[in-house]
Subunit: 325 residues, 2 copies
């Protein structure tokens, strides 16, 4: 399958690398809104102007859209779904129904197949939630994130005057995690589930106490959490915080039995050295499924909930039953 | 959906209980090879003779077959698939291709839908393997079982002369487990992955040393493992070993990056108080999918690899996207 990458940031670079690990995929081109001449790719792959993308309709089987959920994807995915089979990693939960409807309309009208909200959350974590809710109806589930870098929270700190650079780690509260793992089903507030660790490089002469106060009181991002702020040098930032690790777990705890006397705890967990590279790897498996669905005439918008697992795998069904069942 | 239970042992009882947790399922009848008059059910559900099962073809949407993999299911599932949509938990890995072909033929010829090898391994663990192999192509995965009761190994001990009762626990080797969790990809022998703990009630006057020797040297079951044998009283057996807990984990460790510099470790784990009740819960979710596939005209034999997750859930697609994606 010939893959296009639309948008060349961390995720786009991850897709570029992931294609090399999948012998059934080849990179047809990277599309950027920047001047292609200024974009240097990791593997020497060709870069084209995003403005010319529609000329590639016959040369690309699946376009992987690597834009942001806030403003890019709500425009890009429906627009591109009119010319390509597409995948995105749209993660603004509240707006998924609206985004799904827009993409579905564009894809169905033009005979394309789209898969939105792919990655690990939404994505693999959503799969854990749907399987575990289906097999343990009487239960409760919890999603924890971290320890890992939240790019959105890091960006929010960088917008504070006097901040040169910042990295924010989301960290699950160990006590909450171990209670849930032990099969308890506590009601947990936002503050009881995660803490936020911020590493900040301040500009020379900046008022550090004021920066710390502005971070800790920032609504939505930090005010509801126990937040720690540590000022470090740019040197230390580069040395210790240049990677984008992440992870987390979905845990469902449920009961069965004549009198609900048996407890079951199921956990799906990730420890990722590189959030964008892992997400990109998931997107390639999804591209395989989208390509297959489209060739079977199954058009419109999908999510991972609609995809039979066999369609994500390069193995054929008999081999899958033999090796992985 | 109207569910039938064919075979009334531990798993059949689990299905009987699981149906009560799923408002869209009702129990149409239990079929036993024993005299129905002698079978007392947990919930007072009606019991019929297995010999009369074909008379119920119009009264049952999905038959859940609760027999053993060694001799029951290879006969029962193809036979029943000619009259019913069916589910089984066939777990003899080496014979899955042959069993699949037999069931597929019987179901396809008669317009029925079958799903074989459902439960947790094969079943949820197989799903973990297929998803993780698909999204991390450059990696290695490990399946650990336990700590939990292996009914097959317990039965094998009970067949030794002088043994009144026995319970065998399969236990993962902590050191191997933590190495794999840390992202190492060691080559592990059978002995390095699991140990076997046996609790045995001997008949009065039996030669305990001989029993222990016979257990530890039993080929396939125990000879390749570090096995411990503890003799206990019947009282202690009843007090401490009457439950059927189990569990385990699938862990896949893989790499991405320009020079494979990023490591990712993904784990799916279960801690189950009751192996048969949890397995039964999985089977009910599968029955929902089988019923839906059949009503869409999708006949023949399937495994969980062929089932889109949305088909396992009682929620409709829009609700799923809103609540679980």
């Amino acid at each position: 399958m010939r893959i296009g990458i639309y948008g060349y940031g961390n995720l786009g670079r991850g897709v570029e690398l992931a294609i090399r690990q999948n012998p059934d995929a080849e990179l047809a081109g990277i599309f950027s809104r920047r001047d292609p001449a200024t974009v240097k790719t990791l593997t020497g792959a060709p870069v084209y102007s995003a403005a010319d993308v529609k000329q590639f309709a016959d040369k690309i089987d699946v376009m992987i859209i690597c834009g942001g959920s806030a403003s890019d994807l709500p425009e890009m995915t429906p627009m591109l779904a009119a010319s390509f089979n597409v995948i995105d990693s749209f993660d603004t939960h509240a707006r998924i129904p609206e985004h799904f409807a827009n993409v579905d309309r564009a894809a169905a009208e033009t005979g394309h197949t789209a898969l939105i909200s792919a990655g690990w959350d939404p994505g693999l974590f959503s799969l854990a939630r749907i399987y575990l809710n289906s097999v343990l109806p009487d239960g409760k589930d919890y999603t924890f994130w971290g320890r890992g870098v939240s790019q959105g929270h890091s960006d929010a700190i960088r917008r504070i005057p006097g901040v040169r650079d910042a990295r924010q780690y989301t960290v699950p509260v160990e006590d909450a995690l171990s209670r849930v793992r032990d099969g308890e089903t506590p009601e947990l507030t936002t503050r009881q589930k995660h803490t936020r660790e911020c590493y900040v490089v301040a500009e020379e002469g900046a008022d550090k106490a004021l920066i710390e106060k502005q971070i800790k009181e920032m609504p939505n991002y930090f005010a509801d959490y126990d937040t720690t702020v540590t000022f470090i040098s740019m040197d230390e930032m580069k040395r210790n915080h240049s990677e984008l690790p992440h992870g987390g777990q979905v845990i469902r705890s449920g009961r069965t039995g004549l009198d609900n006397e048996h407890r079951h705890v199921v956990e799906f967990s990730l420890k990722l050295d590189s959030n964008p590279e892992f997400t990109a790897s998931v997107l390639i498996a999804c591209a395989r499924a989208v390509n297959r669905l489209n060739s079977r005439g199954d058009c419109g918008c999908k999510t991972l909930f609609d995809i039979a697992p066999a369609d994500l795998s390069p193995m054929d069904p008999a081999e899958l039953r033999k090796k992985l069942l």
